[in-house]
């Protein structure tokens, strides 16, 4: 069996009284496209944010590409990594947010080049060429000099995907990437994600788009109340769910 790109072991996370993740364990293999589904508050977004270390886990461990995230084991105890080291680990993942979070004072092109230039200190002309290629890939060559406020929601989200890809991540995390979009703009973003999936990118997608999950996902994971309830091939989980809770969720969504 191939070594997993992400190994999640017994991860728990609470926000005050609320337990967002309860003892979650999961593997994501290289090149796999995984869709996380479930009601809001089920922990799927929190799981994504823990992998990107926007939220720190309370217990358990997450390994990305064989490297333990956020902490270092030393003398039988765990020590939290410095902000700089966490920043370096984050570069292996790209994050796409529900609300895009593009930098409004920078053009589409500048949004994409910001990370490679400022964080990775790469050469300007090389970064620029790559950014232009990324814009072409998401179908926005003509919008390089537009500010986010001049773009539609779908266009903004496509720029956000290009911005994440510019850091050359091994893993792309999508947090409900189409939930904030008008219905007619959902398709263009999903099309970009499908193309990305076909290119072999490892992806974890929190989504309510079951059609996308059915078509693209190698595996669908259903979560409820901070725990993984059921997982398997999309056709199995979505078509013939074994668990009662999964069936209840699916019949409420469709």
């Amino acid at each position: 069996m191939t070594k997993p790109l992400v190994a999640i072991r017994s991860v728990s996370k609470s926000f005050g009284e609320f337990q967002a993740l309860k003892n979650v364990s999961l593997d994501i293999r290289p090149g796999e496209v995984m869709c996380l589904i479930g009601a809001s508050g089920s922990g799927k977004t929190t799981l994504l944010r823990c992998i990107n270390q926007l939220a720190a886990i309370d217990s358990g461990g997450i390994w990305l590409d064989g490297e333990l995230l956020g902490v270092r084991e030393q003398g039988g105890r765990l020590h939290r990594l410095s902000e700089r080291e966490i920043g370096r680990q984050r570069l292996k993942t790209g994050m796409v947010f529900q609300r895009f979070n593009l930098f409004p004072h920078k053009t589409a092109l500048e949004n994409i080049t910001e990370g490679p230039l400022q964080v990775q200190s790469r050469k300007s002309d090389e970064v620029r060429a790559e950014a232009i290629e990324l814009l072409r890939r998401v179908g926005l060559s003509a919008k390089a000099d537009s500010y986010p406020a001049q773009l539609s929601g779908g266009q903004q989200q496509r720029v956000a995907i290009a911005r994440a890809l510019a850091m050359k991540p091994m893993l792309m995390l999508f947090d409900e990437p189409t939930s904030a979009l008008d219905p007619e703009l959902v398709g263009e973003v999903l099309a970009v994600m499908k193309e990305l999936a076909r290119s072999g990118m490892t992806m974890m997608v929190v989504t309510h788009e079951l059609g996308f999950a059915r078509e693209v996902a190698d595996r669908v994971v259903y979560m409820d109340q901070g725990a993984i309830i059921e997982q398997g091939r999309a056709s199995d989980v979505l078509g013939a769910p074994r668990e009662e809770r999964t069936r209840a969720f699916l019949s409420a969504v469709i």
Binding site: G87, M95, F97, R99, F103, K106, A164
Partner: protein, 285 residues
């Protein structure tokens, strides 16, 4: 396809008719009243014991012009110091480190809690506390020589301004969406780089109107430095009227200069605002 249903009768065609202007009688009446009151005030001053020839004569004398230059130099330098301190203190205040947070809150408490004129007098009279200052073994000097009126005014005005500006900057940074911090972190930025590259440029748009306000306040606050012998506009005007007793005339001269400076600053602020409005809809459309 179904044909559109026929429109109901009884609604006349209004196209081509213009909307008449309202007369606004009360506006005309109140404006006339205000003009009349102003005319009375002007007449009173014209007939009062003011030698207007002195006003025009002293408006452009060398000492007054030097005073306005010193006022502007001090206002710009003290404001620069205030903004620098304000940004640093605001970042400290929003840091997760409790030591930095407490130091920042203490600074704001101390310098916002005491009168500016008192702070100026304290800085100027620092020699009474520390006759000599310096780094032991390396360098030392008599405090009276170091703490000139210029330095005392700069420190007093700048450090006091920093306490106020830090709150303006903090408000600006808090106005930036939390998602912007997260997006910056997600592309590997640390806290300080995210602040410098992503958060502060967006906060600038919010803080420029209050900062413009603060700068206009600073131009006038420099007049307080007259009490510690800094040769700014009011101090120089006072020196002239100590000699020639034309008190009101020279105060009017100083007042006219302050008004002129503030009038020039307002359009400059608008230019700055436009610069930092990059990417917002107002400019884009």
């Amino acid at each position: 396809m179904m044909p559109a249903p026929a429109l109901a009768e009884g609604f006349p065609d209004l196209s081509g008719m213009r909307i008449a202007r309202k007369p606004h009688w009360f506006r005309w009446l109140s404006a006339a009243l205000i003009v009349a009151v102003l005319a009375l005030i002007v007449r009173a001053f014209a007939g009062g014991q003011i030698e207007w020839s002195y006003v025009s004569r002293f408006l452009t004398v060398k000492v007054i012009l030097e005073g306005i230059v010193n006022t502007m130099v001090m206002a710009v330098l003290a404001m620069a110091l205030g903004i620098f301190l304000g940004v640093v203190v605001a970042i400290m205040r929003l840091s997760p480190n409790p030591v930095l947070k407490t130091v920042a809150a203490g600074y704001t408490w101390l310098f916002r809690g005491t009168p500016l004129i008192l702070q100026l007098l304290l800085w100027f009279n620092l020699a009474l506390v520390f006759p000599t200052i310096g780094i032991p073994g390396l360098w030392s000097a008599r405090a009276v020589d170091v703490m000139t009126p210029f330095l005392a005014a700069l420190l007093g005005l700048g450090i006091n301004q920093g306490a106020y500006t830090s709150e303006v900057m903090r408000a600006g940074m808090l106005s930036v969406d939390i998602g912007q911090y997260e997006a910056a972190q997600a592309i590997g930025m640390g806290r300080l780089r995210a602040l410098r590259r992503i958060v502060l440029p967006q906060a600038m748009r919010v803080v420029i109107p209050p900062l413009g306000n603060e700068f206009i306040g600073m131009v006038k606050a420099t007049s307080l430095a007259s009490v510690i012998q800094y040769p700014e506009l009011l101090h120089n005007a006072e020196n002239i009227y100590y000699a020639n007793s034309r008190v009101i005339e020279l105060l009017i001269v100083a007042g006219l200069w302050y008004l002129l400076v503030v009038s020039v600053l307002t359009p400059l602020q608008m230019l700055l605002e436009r610069r930092f409005a990059r990417g917002t809809l107002r400019l884009a459309r």
